[in-house]
């Protein structure tokens, strides 16, 4: 079977690159929608800010777990 493409280098680094895609999209969605929500309803600023922050924490946690996973199983 012929090899179409080949990956060389540190597998952990590649794994982190893949793991960062999802949280990257997620953080973008959270802050984008959060800013939109504040623009539509400025009086709900406190509530929106709070939920934006919590969503950001949960999403960022995935990115950082992806960061340490190669160190654990590498």
């Amino acid at each position: 079977m012929s090899v179409l493409a080949e990956v060389a280098g540190n597998l952990g680094a590649i794994g982190y690159g893949l793991a960062a895609i999802g949280p990257g999209i997620g953080v973008g969605i959270i802050f984008g929608q959060g800013v939109q929500a504040i623009a539509r309803q400025p009086e709900a600023y406190g509530l929106i800010r709070q939920n934006m922050l919590l969503g950001f924490v949960l999403t960022e946690a995935l990115a950082l777990i992806g960061l340490v996973a190669p160190f654990i199983y590498g």
Binding site: Y45, R49, Q50, L53, E60, I72
Partner: protein
């Protein structure tokens, strides 16, 4: 004569955009370092435990526990 009464959604006193913005930026920028230090401390404890007992499952348990505690800390400090 009907006059439209425009009521601002929030008074300046309630809103205080400067300090609000500062607090939010403060919180958002410290989230990654909180999460990372939670992982390091509790993951490190898990690593010590696994090294001591030979059970490898302690490392991922410690990492997830650290993430959870750090997220809880952010919630306690900024989310309420």
């Amino acid at each position: 004569m009907a006059t439209a009464i425009v009521v601002p959604a929030m008074s300046e006193q309630e809103r205080r955009p400067e300090t609000d913005g500062r607090d939010f930026a403060d919180a958002a920028w410290s989230v990654p370092s909180y999460l990372l230090s939670g992982i390091l401390i509790w993951g490190g404890l898990g690593w010590l435990l696994s090294w001591w007992t030979g059970v490898h499952a302690f490392i991922p348990i410690g990492v997830v526990l650290g993430v959870g505690l750090a997220a809880y800390l952010v919630y306690l400090k900024y989310g309420r």
